[in-house]
Symmetry: C2
């Protein structure tokens, strides 16, 4: 299979996406990889798979690569002798943060009829925005941590006890996130968060909470990863998470009871199906007093959480063969015809 | 001002969009109109403003028009002597239903940096899906009619008393909507709705409920329409609504008390700001026992609800000058540089 990896984007996580994309070369060994880079200016470039490395981007040298244009059915190079389509079977959306996770790339691929692995537009919007993720969880009967919501211009009044954690609603990778231990630190933490977003959610910070990650997708059957217990300090800062995104070796499954594992997996399935069909996501759960709570949905996890799977590549290939189909709409102009007739009579 | 009207789309409401677009010619009198048609196959065409009429589309003759390609910054014609940009100041998204209201067009315009009047991607997804509109209203403290939600594969069990109204969650213009008076009619009505969508919401059908429409937007100040009391039978079927979309003459304001009008307008503002900035929407409210309830958000109303405004054209021009700005993200590759240094040391 020829997999086009779409990466980069106009995103605070642009560089993380580059690291994720390069990591894919180590884990997609049997497939042909076609690298399509979206630069910070949102121009598309076809990157030579042999030559890809992080310096190509940081040096600006990628600009010597062929530029691509997105049109119906695919990406095209434009040359003296007309337009030529880039050949691949499926796009793997690996743009973290804005563009990739907010629904823009999903919309572009859907509009132009390109087969793609990614959350679709609706799923993107609901998982990219942490406030909307709360709505979604609630509607599915999935528990989440209690929260309050503040917009930039709201009065900075919260009713929760400290310590709390403040998160911009739309960003991943801990950008703009702060733990606030007392009231005197609140203003600064909100200033930081509002640098990145117009809205924040505020949750109680639960010291030493048990956290488990579950990744997976639905192909012709459920394909679920091991349950991972991420090792973390208070919380990972951006740079540590960043290094984490280059992971390509498998980790050990969390040592948990079978019934907890089952609860986590059932909750994952409830969230995934049908909204996230066509994508491979990771859900991060908290477990408090045996209760499984959704912390966040990672719609495009770093290096696709490949290290949580036995057969990551096989799963991606099977997923590419089980993408949701768009509903067919036939336009036959019957209403315009009948209006024209009605007007004719009038 | 040169306003590019984007219309058509791969949508059940493709034809309605054509009618809306043609109507704009009668109401945008001082402006230059550039018509950009998205055909059912999602190809873009530049339509001659002088020649536009519904038959151009129903006959397929539009295919003789110049085809356009969407690229960074705008729409382009491709010719023997290179690519030429179509000139306009702003795009007015007038695609009803799929593509226009589901976030695809908003994503395309945002990605390519084209100034556009339309709900943005998030606002589109939350208003296009009637279930998500319920979540949104709830989070804003706006009341809605009680509802139940069914997915295609769910057991067809509802706990509400008849009569009920069944609506596909993602469609406008009454497509797939049924009023069900007794249990024996339920299965057929659900079959109809599930022809169009994977999910439906079910609400009590309130005979003779008072309904009021409020349209508007935020430019440098609030610009709110008159409150309209739509005349309707049980409910408008597709064909009647369709004819309604060609309206271009003003209607009378509903004869309601000032405090009810104020409640309606305050509720409208709560829904609109900040999520819908950059768009002109219409909210349809029910009033039951003096309580204002959101029925639905019409993110791209038929012929832009022009008939509800005194100075529709002036408002559109002011809105074009007050579009939300995308947050600037600078990519400086500092993390890649620091990883390269860390690797160098290892």
């Amino acid at each position: 299979m020829n997999i086009a990896i779409l990466f980069g984007g106009s995103s605070f996580e642009h560089e993380i996406s580059i690291v994720s994309a390069i990591t894919m070369k180590k884990v997609l060994k049997k497939s042909t990889i076609t690298y399509i880079f979206v630069d910070a200016n949102r121009e598309f470039y076809l990157i030579d798979t042999e030559k890809i490395n992080s310096k190509l981007f940081s040096s600006g040298e990628y600009k010597k690569s062929k530029q691509l244009i997105l049109k119906k059915g695919g990406f095209f190079t434009e040359g003296m002798f007309g337009s030529k389509q880039v050949s691949f079977n499926v796009v793997l959306n690996l743009i973290h943060g804005r563009d990739g996770e907010d629904g823009k790339i999903a919309s572009l691929m859907a509009f132009y009829g390109i087969p793609f692995i990614s959350p679709r537009t609706e799923a993107s919007v609901l998982s990219y925005n942490k406030l909307y993720t709360k709505f979604l969880a609630e509607s599915l009967g999935v528990k989440t941590v209690a929260y309050e919501h503040l917009s930039k211009n709201d009065e900075r009044k919260i009713s929760m006890d400290f310590p709390i954690i403040i998160k911009p609603v739309r960003l991943g990778s801990s950008i703009g996130v702060s733990i606030v231990k007392e009231a005197s630190e609140l203003d600064y933490a909100l200033d930081v968060a509002f640098e990145f977003d117009t809205d924040v959610i505020i949750e109680p910070f639960i010291e030493g909470v048990k956290e488990y990650n579950q990744a997976g997708c639905l192909t012709d059957a459920w394909e679920l990863s091991i349950v991972e217990e991420p090792h973390k300090e208070a919380f990972l800062d951006f740079e540590k998470k960043y290094m984490d995104f280059a992971r390509d070796s498998q980790v050990l499954a969390a040592d948990i009871a079978d019934d907890l594992k089952e609860k986590i997996q059932e909750t994952f399935k409830k969230i995934y199906d049908p909204l996230f069909r066509g994508s491979m996501i990771r859900c991060d759960f908290f477990v408090v007093d045996g209760e499984v709570m959704l912390n966040e949905i990672n719609p495009i996890p770093g290096s696709m959480a490949n290290y949580l799977f036995d057969d990551f590549e096989g799963m991606i290939i099977r997923l590419a063969k089980h993408l949701p189909k768009e509903q067919k709409i036939t336009v036959d102009y019957q209403y315009i015809h009948s209006i024209q007739q009605a007007k004719g009579k009038a």
